[in-house]
Amino acid sequence: MTSRSLGQFYPVASPVHDLDPRAKILATAVFVVGLFLIDSTVGLLFVAAALVALVTMSRIPAGTFLLLLRPVLFIVALTVLFQVLFSREGVTLAEWGFFEIRSGGLSLGFFLALRILLLVSSAGLLTATTAPVALADGIEDLLSPLKRVRFPAHEVAMMMTIALRFIPTLGKEAEKIKGAQAARGADFSEGGPLRRARSLVPLLVPLTVGAFRRADELAEAMESRGYRGGEGRTRYRELRFRKRDALALAVTALVLLVGILL
């Protein structure tokens, strides 16, 4: 079993999970654009407080949510390091040979780190509180105006759903093949970078072959159940944009607006 990672759906019942996926997608878009318009640390902190409140409402345990952020910590650390070491603004706080740490670098580093974390958290909250199928439905619906210019909105959304659905499947398959090759004496952790890259061949070739085989099988299974694309297709679950969805979107916009003004 693979560990939970960024973007994995966390199925619990909460007001955030319950929102219309379109409202959540739009709110996330507003949030992300707004983040880049905020130029003060106070503004970011205000938005961060609002996001913390939202995560609490989503009933995702704080520990689990922080785990979602783990993959980006490296980028965050790198950003802070560069700002701190190479910024030439503000008062010098410490010197060490060629490097000097200045107050300007520290505050800019903090600002950028906060921005990246908020960016990833908002996207993470969207995918953690929205089932992949609902997400795809939402995207399809939001893209549907483009159908008039012959943009295949349904097909794009279906491709996304399938891609998301097969991540854990391929993960399991990779574990299995890794085990089978390890039983034949493969070692994926020994030697220099070149040897390690070469040792991945016995893993990647069967994985790729398997992915193609699965794609074929899935296509056949879909066709045998009468799937022929989005045209004339009806839905079992209709999306309903309710008052509270509009409210959620409005509150998000308001929070970002306050953040920008602060």
Partner: protein
């Protein structure tokens, strides 16, 4: 070699909401040169169990002993050579451009010289009646041929214990018969074989001893007759027939193999 599992426990994803207790204290011995059949329903822990035999999975409790020595103290590469594990659907791990090169993968990993590698490749392919496949691409073979090539890839390590997880699943009857014959041939050459299977009839044909798993525990272990006659309702067809006749004709005894059962029935008819 004698492979012993002592009170082996295994928990998947411990400490998370996805925690599953797959093995709840399994003890068994694979004696030198025997065929041990492992049977049990889906989810009984068969596949988890066999991955402990070469420590692909490390038990969360209990221990694995190789000739009385704690297996965790042995070199992993050495242990995996001595205990050859063939996964379920092993053909999904074929990767090389030709069957020959794929089978050569394991012996090359062992660092053998090229002459020895070639010799082993031919020998293992011949053992699986797949000699003529050597130069072909593994991806262009039939299901049965792929299976044979993949098993040859493990056999080429010359393991002392060969563990086969559902090796006959989805095979045509002829390939299945060949594989069962190979298992008996290996046993006669002194190699222990662990055969995991859903198919009780085939286990009845080749196993010297049978271990029945249920919900991560050993439900029964012993000779095929001991295990299968305890619960004839969940036994191979031969045992079910014989145990029905036994109600009126106890002299039929406890035959398990097809040929044995046939002989017992003929003896009954003659009497």
């Amino acid at each position: 070699m004698r492979l012993e599992l002592r009170d082996v426990r295994y928990v998947y994803a411990p400490g998370t909401p996805f925690e599953v207790e797959a093995l709840r204290g399994v003890s068994l011995v694979v004696e030198p040169g025997e065929v041990l059949g492992i049977v049990g329903g889906t989810g009984s822990g068969k596949s988890t169990l066999v991955q402990h035999m070469n420590l692909l999975l490390t038990p969360t409790g209990g221990e694995v002993l190789v000739d009385g020595v704690d297996a965790t103290t042995l070199k992993k590469s050495e242990l995996r050579r001595r205990v050859g594990l063939v996964f379920q659907f092993p053909e999904s791990a074929l990767f090389a451009p030709t069957v020959e090169e794929d089978v050569a993968f394991a012996p090359r990993q062992l660092g053998l010289d090229e002459e020895e590698v070639q010799e082993r490749v031919l020998e293992s392919l011949r053992a699986l009646e797949a000699g003529e496949l050597a130069a072909r691409s593994p991806f262009a073979l039939s299901g049965g041929e792929k299976r044979r090539a993949a098993i040859a890839g493990v056999l080429a390590m010359k393991p002392e214990v060969l563990v086969l997880d559902e090796p006959t699943a989805g095979l045509d009857p002829a390939t299945r018969e060949d594989l069962l014959a190979l298992i008996l041939g290996l046993r006669n050459a002194g190699i222990s074989v662990v055969l995991v299977s859903h198919d009780l009839d085939e286990v009845a044909e080749v196993a010297d001893r049978v271990c029945a798993l249920q919900e991560g525990r050993v439900r029964a272990i012993g000779t095929p007759a001991e295990v299968f006659y305890r619960e004839p309702a969940q036994a191979p067809a031969t045992v079910r027939v014989a145990s029905l006749l036994r109600e009126s004709k106890p002299e039929i005894g406890a035959p398990v193999r097809f040929a044995e059962t046939l002989d017992a029935l003929r003896a009954l008819q003659g009497a």
